[in-house]
């Protein structure tokens, strides 16, 4: 098909050039999608659809790093075995910039480049934008959001790469009730957006189940000074303040200002882990005061430290801490492809959901999520309740898997 008008030919030339460059660079199979044994150009592509820039870039880049590392592990061992061929794993990136339409453009672009195994997206509204298109095209999505519709029985090709609040909130709340015996009220602080409110809803239920009454208050995203709203808070100080999934920068300021205002009670975070970024934002562990949090992994544990060092050795800089959380999922995804010799999403999905969750760096886990989502497509790992007191950290292992 060629269009012969003046402007169209320029744009077409650009689009064609772009498409050709992309296709030759990636070689991830024909644009009809699935391949069985073997791989085009000796490469198997994994579509990366994450916020690599913008305000969520901290998470997006960290999650990408997990796949980057898992891929490099596989490649240095010779690559994936696809039938008789050995194929290198290659990441095909698309930066969603944290917006729904970029995510939607991204999924279309990746699918048309033959990528039907997608690592990402990260944010709830990205997942919502991507799902219908992925489903229509039979693409597999391994996503990292806390959306309550992230996985469901109606979307058998959707997976959740990390434990979501529905998995960790209840055990955490019970630990909190046991650690702070006199706590009866909690105030949950979240930004006024979809992710914030979703997490707050889950946390409120969890606290209720543990005998603590929680109320939620929201702040405008982009707020730099939380002092006014802290003044509000202190008129009726709650027994606990929970920051849920507030971004680390904001969390840091809130903690600093709460402590300055004289609030001595425990501050907690039953939400996505971002502890090292929060400590950076606060300035030092001592500045946290009494702080409890959901710790997906023990970042001081030997295997995790080894991972950080190995990553630094391969790529020059240590990874963002959040990447360790996504590492099991990355390895499992590649393993499923290797095992089935296939990049057909349905085939890979079937193998994936039967793989045991047992990761050399992070430890054991199970496929969970049936209760909350209706389908066991969530990687649930045993985790820890972390606590800082006087700058000293303690981690209490909490087992959800019964392992």
């Amino acid at each position: 098909m060629s269009f012969r008008s003046l402007r169209r030919s320029t744009a077409t030339a650009l689009a064609t050039a772009a498409a050709m460059a992309a296709l030759t660079a990636c070689g991830g199979g024909a644009s009809t999608g699935s391949t069985t044994a073997g791989c085009a150009d000796g490469k198997v592509g994994i579509g990366v659809l994450l916020p690599l820039s913008g305000s969520a870039a901290g998470f997006g880049q960290g999650i990408r790093q997990a796949m980057e590392y898992a891929a490099s592990e596989v490649n240095s061992a010779g690559g994936l075995t696809m039938g008789d061929a050995k194929c290198t794993v290659e990441l095909v990136d698309f930066d969603t910039k944290g917006s729904a339409e970029q995510a939607s453009t991204g999924i279309n672009t990746l699918i048309s480049k033959g990528q039907k195994i997608i690592w990402g997206p990260n944010l709830s509204h990205e997942v919502t934008a991507v799902q219908p298109i992925a489903q229509r095209n039979g693409a597999l999505i391994m996503q990292a959001s806390y959306s309550s519709k992230g996985i469901s029985p109606q979307q058998p090709l959707n997976f959740a790469m990390v434990t979501t609040p529905s998995g960790f909130a209840n055990p955490m709340a019970k630990w909190v009730a046991a650690a702070y015996l006199d706590a009866r009220t909690a105030l949950i602080v979240v930004p006024d957006n979809e992710g914030g409110r979703d997490t707050a809803t889950i946390d409120t239920k969890a606290y209720a189940g543990a005998g603590i009454t929680a109320t939620t208050t929201t702040y405008a995203p982009g707020t730099t000074d939380f002092a006014p709203f802290i003044g509000n808070l202190l008129r009726n100080p709650p027994d606990l303040v929970d920051l849920a999934s507030t971004p680390p920068g904001d969390s840091g300021v809130i903690i600093k200002q709460l402590r300055q205002a004289g609030y001595d009670g425990p501050i907690g975070r039953i939400g996505g882990e971002a502890t090292s970024a929060i400590i950076d934002a606060v300035g030092s562990p001592a500045g946290l005061g009494d702080f409890y949090y959901y710790a997906a992994i023990d970042s001081e544990a030997r295997p995790v430290q080894d991972y950080f060092a190995a990553f630094a050795a391969r790529f020059g800089n240590p990874p963002l801490t959040v990447s360790a959380q996504a590492l099991p999922a990355a390895r499992m995804l590649l393993h499923a492809i290797d095992e089935t010799d296939s990049t057909d999403p349905a085939v890979v999905a079937a193998a994936l959901e039967k793989l045991p969750v047992d990761d050399p760096t992070v430890g054991k886990g199970v496929w969970g999520g049936k209760d909350f989502y209706g389908i066991n497509h969530e990687i649930v790992l045993d985790f820890f309740a972390g606590r800082y007191q006087d700058g000293q950290r303690t981690l209490t292992p909490l087992s959800v898997t019964g392992l």
């Binding site: 006014p228 680390p248 030092s284 500045g287 963002l320």
Partner: protein
């Protein structure tokens, strides 16, 4: 109890207003002297924070020195930006706006690439808090107020008691006549932008250790500059300073009683409503043709 909340909010508001004033004055200054809307202004604020941070962490300088070094460094960046990007097109109002916007985007992308998207660990050296009668005043905020007042006073002195300031004011009043009298824009324009950038950087280096330092602060600073300067009136320094303090106090007081989003919405809507009645802001002068 009500008066306590109000008093607390007023104190917070004054600190906010003081930093907004430093930020807005620089922005207004560039408009006054060059007739240029400098979108990169928020970027200078952010750079001030990062230069101060790097001066402390990489070069080991004590905070006060780092702050001054940072402000000076960003002032140089501002002057260079003016000479390279603005000077060739200074009379084209749309082009200077878009070129400064482009520079803002490049600055933000550069900082994100160098320092990462997450906050960097920077702490304000003074963390003591004054407490009396139920009020708490972090000393850091008092320092912000003091330094801001000093900066504004220094700016006033520069503009109204020195020859350079006189030249800047003359150029802003009537560029043609000033030029005919021998004042060369090529000398003074970079100075004006350097001054404005230095002020923004001072605000950035002062405030971000108290709150948080991450690339997105550039955007917030830019939006704040816009709304304060529109409220106060473009080109009026007194207007900018007054509007800054008023806005800071309104933000703090509103935030103490209403939710944050609602306060922001009401404030912005109020500014827009004001423009219906006074299109040039509270104290703005009638702009020359665009």
């Amino acid at each position: 109890m009500v008066t306590l909340t109000l008093t607390q909010a007023l104190v917070n508001g004054l600190a906010l207003g003081a930093q907004y004033a430093v930020l807005a004055l620089g922005f207004s200054l560039v408009f006054g002297v060059l007739n240029v809307i400098n979108f990169a202004h928020g970027g200078f604020y952010m750079l001030g924070g990062y230069f101060t941070f790097s001066a402390m962490s990489a070069a080991g300088l004590p905070y006060v020195v780092a702050l001054l070094v940072g402000a000076l460094g960003v002032a140089v960046v501002g002057a260079v930006m003016e000479l390279v990007l603005i000077e060739p097109i200074v009379d084209n109002h749309e082009a200077t706006l878009t070129v400064s916007l482009g520079f803002f985007l490049v600055l933000t992308a550069g900082v994100t690439a160098l320092y990462g998207p997450d906050p960097v660990p920077v702490e304000f050296p003074v963390s003591s808090v004054l407490r009396f009668g139920g009020l708490y005043i972090p000393v850091a905020r008092l320092i912000v107020i003091a330094v801001s007042v000093a900066a504004v006073a220094a700016l006033w002195f520069l503009l109204y008691r020195t020859k350079y300031g006189l030249a800047l004011r003359a150029l802003s009043e009537n560029r043609e006549v000033a030029t005919m009298q021998g004042l060369r824009p090529r000398t003074f324009f970079p100075l004006a932008v350097a001054l404005s950038a230095g002020l923004a950087a001072l605000a950035g280096g002062l405030v971000t250790p108290i709150f948080t330092l991450e690339p997105v602060v550039a955007q917030t600073a830019l939006m704040t500059s816009f709304v304060v300067v529109v409220l106060g009136g473009l080109g009026s320094l007194v207007g900018a300073a007054g509007a800054a303090v008023a806005f800071g106090i309104a933000e703090a007081v509103g935030g103490a009683y209403l939710s944050g989003s609602l306060t922001q919405l009401l404030l912005f809507a109020a500014v827009l409503a004001l423009l219906l009645v006074r299109p040039t802001g509270l104290a703005g002068r009638r702009l020359r043709d665009a």
